[in-house]
Symmetry: C2
Subunit: 141 residues, 2 copies
Amino acid sequence: MNVQEAMDLLKKKGYKYTDKRQDMLQLFSEESRYLAAKDVLETMQKTYDGMSFDTIYRNLSLFTELGILEATELNGEKRFRFTCAVDEHHHHVICLECGKTKHIHHCPMDDQPVQEAGFDVIGHKFEIYGYCSECRKQPAS
Amino acid sequence: MNVQEAMDLLKKKGYKYTDKRQDMLQLFSEESRYLAAKDVLETMQKTYDGMSFDTIYRNLSLFTELGILEATELNGEKRFRFTCAVDEHHHHVICLECGKTKHIHHCPMDDQPVQEAGFDVIGHKFEIYGYCSECRKQPAS
DNA sequence: TTTCATAATAGTAATAATTCCGATTTAATC
DNA sequence: GATTAAATCGGAATTATTACTATTATGAAA
């Protein structure tokens, strides 16, 4: 997935082209890390004065629905990143400070698929948290 | 960990005994599932008229600091459960509806400890989500 | 290229979870 | 029983997120 593919997908689904959407996607494509809504807003407001929360949130959730972004939750806020193209299914090591990620090319569900009696399993999460080399020095707790 | 042990720990650390703390702990000890703050508040308010948010939240975070409760985040809200006594370290299958859990006696970090260059790993999360037999019929999405 | 229907956006209000704070009450100690 | 610090209440403040209405802009059709 890249910006062009994402815009094409939007078009195919009948959504409209806007500069703001393109710029949001561009922002994500340049960063292989999880961004919070407020990070996106801050950056976008540099270009678009008066950019509203609503637009950010609406597009973040649209992009996530369409599989363009993937979301997780860190410290009580949702964060989003461009969907990885590396392989079918994998997990992440995530920096708690800046949201930077590295791939884990291994899924624990492959080893020991969980079949709990009576449980309809619909998803799982495997994430490793820490601080990257840049954020390591002063982890803002 | 049980209610008595938890109360002893509180005493040992210099915290005061209160009926509300005991009742909160009692509630958790009776349920092997994750409860949201509002669940705890609702139950407690049946006994204590005018019970405040503050008391709930303050005690939930105190209990968590002391290792009496363990926390996770589901659908944007923190949830808490009594710390499991089963074994040293394990993970959970969690019902997204009621918060009920089952243990996974296996940690993916044991198989393939992650050593990402430059990353200070400080924690990890492995959770499997689904619906338990009681909640399966009508998953309130 | 103008027109038109609809989607997207701005601006702001509303909601929901959580935290904070001053005043009061209570538990543990003297 | 008096004292002191912790715990609580009640409500306000914060923060992230969602909802709503009027306006604007996109894409398609005339």
